[in-house]
Amino acid sequence: MAEKGVAQVWRRFDSIYNLIGTHCSNCGTYYFPPRLVCPKCRRKGKLEEYKYKGLGKIHTFSIVRQAPENFKRQVPYVVAQVQLDEGPRLTAQIVNIDPEDVKIGMRVRVCFRKITEYGEGGIIVYGYKFEPTMIVTGHE
């Protein structure tokens, strides 16, 4: 059985798996999701592919307690606006933390998670979410 939406999601795999956006070398602005044209420089803009370091902080967030069918198992969960260190803001789920411990300004790093499933027999979509930065033994 052919499935609706598979091709549309597939085209974005690279960007949502690896947090790949664009950087304009003319004005220095970073974009996520990737853009075809720099809205600041227009025709003077020089856009190149850019892989984000995956570090940032929570700009704002909300706790979801009433969720759509696909997300019921995760309730309550946190959806936040994450400000990446390079500049852009994106919307993502915050995981590996209890919702009541999430704070504005908290440092987060990207992680790889299941985003949604197209039903029990459908494809599984994976991509970025964010989690609090971890303690690493021997790292300053």
Binding site: Y17, R73, N96, I124
Partner: protein
Amino acid sequence: MVGIIGYGVYIPRYRIKTEEIACVWGEDGEAMAHGLRVFEKSLPGPDEDVVTISTEAARNAVKYAELDPKRIGAVYVGSESHPYAVKPTGTIVSEAIGCSTDMTCADFEFACKAGTAAVQACMGLVSSKMIDVGLAIGADTAQGRPGDALEYSAAAGGVAILIGKENPVATIETTTSFTTDTPDFWRREGEDFPSHGARFTGEPAYFRHVEEGAKALMKKTDTTIDDYDYFVFHQPNGKFPMAMGKTLGVPMEKLEDSLVVKDIGNTYSASAMMGLARILDIADPGSKIFMVSYGSGAGSDAFSIVVEDEIEAHRGEVPTVDDYIKRKTYVNYSIYAKYRRKIKALG
């Protein structure tokens, strides 16, 4: 010589205590925990599976090795809980860690030793110069039938090992395997939970294969227990590897550092590899490690490994096994059931 040029692990944050599971089924939790030597086990979050666990472990391995992922020529993921029945886990992992398209990839299955089988395949490809670097992963989100003995130990975690020749952090001197047709544990297509031969899982299965594997490796390398500093055996629970050590005459102090099972349970395809990773986290250069994995069905893979000076240049970049063990939050049985899809109504 071929060796480990990097490795990385991942253990989900959630834990459930043996006592909590025992309480639901009217068992004596304390006696159960001490009998099995499993005090708590890890479980995946509702948005984690073998693909996400493998990816996190592999990203750690790549960072640890300071490797350009485009140099990876093979990605093999060993697991018994691949999310798709048809569609490889490895292709998703490869793309998520930034591999090139010029590489070979496949999923491996051999119960709990699928990960070490992947290590052996990568060793062959690297030794024969077919590839530059190979990535072998063992990862699982193991499930036990509610109320079954396996429910106390079936856990989640993953280990990724990069195999190559350039500046290894540990050299793999040699490997041997011992394989028979033994129906100790199985799961048929479409079944949610595995079946096992109960008492049959001990003597003719785990103990025979691990012991024969260990003896074969010592014979091949002309070594004895005294030649090794650390021992790692597959850990279906804490009791089995300890009994195996006793049979083989391994002093407890050479075995105990690898016994991560007491804190996280049996991570199946990652189990022996997780024990190895914990040793690689702490061992001094020059240390010799003896590892034997075990997979039901049945077989064992034995490895003789030497830690190199290079290892000191890589530590402190990615979380250690203990960093992940310490990062935890406890859940009760109802949250566990919700996350593990034991409640069918939630889909």
